[in-house]
Structure formats: C-alpha cells, structure tokens
Symmetry: C2
Subunit: 247 residues, 2 copies
Amino acid sequence: MISKSQISFIKSLHQKKIRKEHGLFIVEGLKSIQEFINSEYVVDSVYCTENLMPKLDNLSRKIKPVGITESELSRISALSTPQAILAVVQIPQQTDLNIKKLDGSFILALDGVQDPGNLGTIIRTADWFGLNTILCSKDTAEVYNPKVVQASMGSLSRVNIIYTDLGDAFSQINIPVYGALLDGKSIYETDFGQEGIILLGNEGNGISEYLIEKINYPITIPRYGKAESLNVAISASIFCSELRRKT
Amino acid sequence: MISKSQISFIKSLHQKKIRKEHGLFIVEGLKSIQEFINSEYVVDSVYCTENLMPKLDNLSRKIKPVGITESELSRISALSTPQAILAVVQIPQQTDLNIKKLDGSFILALDGVQDPGNLGTIIRTADWFGLNTILCSKDTAEVYNPKVVQASMGSLSRVNIIYTDLGDAFSQINIPVYGALLDGKSIYETDFGQEGIILLGNEGNGISEYLIEKINYPITIPRYGKAESLNVAISASIFCSELRRKT
C-alpha cells in the first residue's frame, strides 16, 4: 500500500529542486534497481506491481518492496512505459577529487553536456570500457535526472561522477588532457599512453575557450563523409574504444 | 500567413499514419532545412518566424518561406524548444535495393532498432564515416518520425535508408555480414576487408534468430568494465570507426 501523500512526494522527485532538497532520486526497472542495491548506494524504498512480486526473491532479502497497482505506478513513474518496479535511492555525498586515485587511469571530463540521454549513455559506455570516474563541469546536466538514470542502465551505480570546476581539476590532476576537437591529430594516430583525461564539450558549442588552453593534445575523429559533427556520446565512445584498443 | 487548417494539417504530420497518407514529413532547424533543400529531397514549404527571416537570403532564392508567429510555430513544431524555422518535405519513393551499387562498400543493417533517437544518431554517425546506405528491417523505427529527423541533424538528407526483409537482402547482396554480438571475435582483431554489411540488433533483444544464421563473422566490442551491454548507436559508431581506421 502506498498513500496519496507518498505518491505525490515520489512524483515530486521528478523535479531537480525537490531531489536536491531531499537528497533522493528515482531508479526504474528491475535490473537497474538490483545494481543499485548491490552497490554503495543506499536504496530507501522499492515499489512494485503485484505481478512482478514473485520474481523478487533475491531482491527482497535485502529490501522489502511495497506492492502498488499499475495505475499508482504510472503516477510515480517518469517513464512513458513504466517498468513494473521503481526505487527511491539516496543521493550520496559527492566524493572529493582524490587526485592520487586518478593517477595511472583514464577519466572522462564533460564540459557542459546538456542532454540527459547523452550523459546517461556516456556513463553506460564509460562503465563498459572500465572508466570509473567522470568529471562534469557544474553546468553539465544533473546526473540524478530520471532520463540520465534511465539511459545509464544501472551503470550510474558503478561510475563515480564528480561535479567540479574543470579548469581547477585539470591543474590539480597532473595527467595529460586530450581534447575532442574538430582540428586535432587523428585519434587513430594518437598514443594515449597509460593515463589521461578525455575532455568533451557541449553539444552545440563544444569545449569552452578557457578549457581549450588546458588541452595538451587536441584530438580529432577523422571524418570520411559529410555530417558536420558527431553526437557527444558517440565521440566519447570512440575515444573510450580507441584508448582501450591501444592500452 | 498560415491558416488554421494549415496549422492543424502540419501538426497532424507528427503522426506516422498521416505522414504515410500524404507522403510528407517535418524538418526543423535552419541547418537541417538547408541540407534538405540542397539534397535530392523536395521541400514543399518552409515556415519561419519574423526574426529569422532576414537571415534567410540564401535559402529564399530557392524557396519562399511563409512568415509565422512564435505561437503558431510552437503549435506545428514537434520540439519542446522550437527552432524558429520548420519545413514540410516530401517523403521520396523508396530506392530499390541496387545490389551492384553496394559492392565494394560498407553498409549498416538495423534489425528492429526501436528508439527514434538511436536511429537518428546512427544516420548521423554513418554520414560522418561516409557510409551512404542503411538497410532497416520492416519493424525498425520509421525514419520520418520527427525525433529521428532531429537526431540525424540533416544527415538524413544524404544517407539512403531502405526498409526491407534483411534476410532476403543479405541473400541478394553477396558481401560478408559482420554481426554485432556479445560472443564473437574482438573487433580490434577483425580485418573488415573492403566491403561488408554491419548488422546490429534491437535494443533489448539483439539480432533475430533467423538473421544470426546469416552472419559470416560474429564480432564483439570487448568489455573492460561491468556494464551489461552498449547502446546500439554506440555499437554502430565503434564499428564505423574501426572499419574506417583499417581501410
């Protein structure tokens, strides 16, 4: 059973302001919720329709789901086609930038990526390629937006997202900065070595002027056809693939 | 000036059924519309707000835009943030599968890709990497859906999309079929030669059983982390990048 006030509270978590105020966000879909339960995140509550309940044996040892009707689910869900189960999860305290931990690894840095789907897809792709940290400029989309969580397909439970001033962060982290630009060295001819920051810019405007100065290696994905640019999540994935191929 | 009945007609083109009935679809944004005007597509009409009009010198030599108010635009637009200009474009007759033309090239084949954003991003990426043909199974998302057109960022004007039975098409086209699977040879160790079909499956279910039999080379993007899968547009882009790197 779920009360009317609970329904309206969970629904209010679709808004950034309310998420921030209460330190809570929504995760939907069984697989994603299981991954959050098995992660360092704290799952506050789980709401589930009756027909999915019997399939929750493993889940329910750790947390007791609340049964709800499909109509109640559709009211709290942020999806156009709700997935029978929804969890409310605590937003963790942001990890401080631990510079020593980042030595010897590859990390992504996103400068003002705006589209929630792009951010979620980048998190999922980073997780596939074993990149565990993403630095985001403060004007990047909010990672607990339901569309980001959905597109990340559970990978948000494993990838550390740090919102920070990227210029300051680059000064502190003493590893090379590779910038995705339209006029750089071909990515296919680039040796990424053993560590680095891959910097990607905003969908429309690219990388900010003040960050371009901080790039050690401007890198380009060569164009063979006529499209004017690549989607930022696509660029990120080709960088991840190329650096893993070579290391 | 735009009449009420024109507004409601253009708005009705948001629906697949009406697009199909009238053979028309919507393109939004100045850059995309310019690319369609400069392509083989026939642009039927262009609607534009007054503040953009002075910037349309080049465009208007070819076609005379109709001035509309922002409020009228918001009624005919399929975007949450309309982009000052909208065109109604004719759906071309589908090109027949010209097998000889496909010899010696790389083409993508999509088996039931459902998400319009994924399809549009795949078209844009194919265009970047110079792949000019995409075969789509008949249950793939409709390419004239406004979300597909938007995500393709004008590239739809250059990439030839053919809806067909993929099994039959593969039998007719006598070039190797590379299938994106979770248990194949590493893409980094694959020699793609000079031609081939890259087959990618549905977001949730992958490639259909009957098409798996038609795959000559099962190929995998190696996983270095913990995500369960990659987004299909991301997989497509890594295939495009790898085959261009090698050829």
